[in-house]
Point group: C2
């Protein structure tokens, strides 16, 4: 079986979470399968290792998991992008629209050297709002959000097109629904 098939087989569908009508893709069974995590990492590293990234920016919270592993394997800095009020030092912030209201994420203003090539990582691409805000934060620091990595793409929400339209890059993902 291919890695993609194995990952598709292990992701758990949880209906009506976080609210009625949403089918949540739960990656915790993948995290519990260390062998498959290593297999996923081998694929991701093969895809990214020759792209010359200078840092991985991972989006709180689930983006910290494979984001840290990617930075570790690629031997480059890991930069946490967090919800508003969580980062202790001076930050830049970026707000984006949710279905109802707004959300804000932040990055430390000294987190990334200007000119750096940055890979943005989160576990799941839905509408792309959070990832786009993360990429804007990276760009505000004078670095370049050059690529996006997700484990899962919910293609029917067209987040991949939204990211392509704003940043001119096609997001990378392992599996798509």
């Amino acid at each position: 079986m291919s890695t993609v098939e194995k990952v598709k087989g292990i992701i758990r569908d949880v209906p009506n979470f976080p609210k009625p009508g949403i089918l949540f893709k739960d990656i915790t069974p993948l995290l519990a399968d260390s062998q498959l995590v290593h297999e996923v990492m081998r694929e991701l590293v093969a895809d990214f290792k020759h792209q010359g990234f200078d840092a991985i920016a991972g989006i709180e919270s689930r983006g910290f998991i494979f984001g840290s592993l990617l930075a570790y394997e690629l031997q480059i800095p890991f930069v946490p992008i967090r919800k508003s009020g969580k980062l202790p030092y001076k930050t830049l912030s970026e707000s984006y629209n949710l279905e109802y209201g707004q959300a804000t994420i932040e990055i430390h203003e000294d987190a990334i050297k200007p000119g750096s090539k940055v890979l943005i990582h989160d576990d799941l691409l839905a509408t792309g709002g959070t990832a786009a805000a993360a990429a804007r934060l990276v760009n505000k620091l004078g670095a370049r959000a050059e690529a996006f990595s997700f484990l899962i793409n919910l293609s029917f929400l067209k987040g991949d097109q939204i990211l392509f339209n704003e940043f001119g890059v096609k997001p990378h993902y392992l599996i798509s629904y």
Copy 2:
């Protein structure tokens, strides 16, 4: 310079965060130093690899970072322990006291096999309230919270004694203030 000295030198003190009078220990400069992250991981893996842990439980959010790396290097499952309402599947929850009010954390009820030996990880040990609640969650699943791992211990808050009194183990940490 020893790893401990290097880590002490790179952790950033942020005064008055998250509130007046608190001196916050910021690990983001460590995360930006990939070589030092690898050096820290070599130390942690050397300390833990012969202890036969079956899983690492990492506490949201900062505990996801080195928690994931530890699980990856030890080739065992990573189990996220999250703030209330974040985990999508059936959960057990545990509340604990904060300075004002209470906090609640959760674990998936199928996250860990009964009888497993579990290492609890977070980046910082303060009063020990969150780590103790995490260990109780693990124990409620019929597994055993056998050890605690932190990067930083704030010894003046005596969290290490609180964990020792309740669980009979001395927490492991890299640096202490």
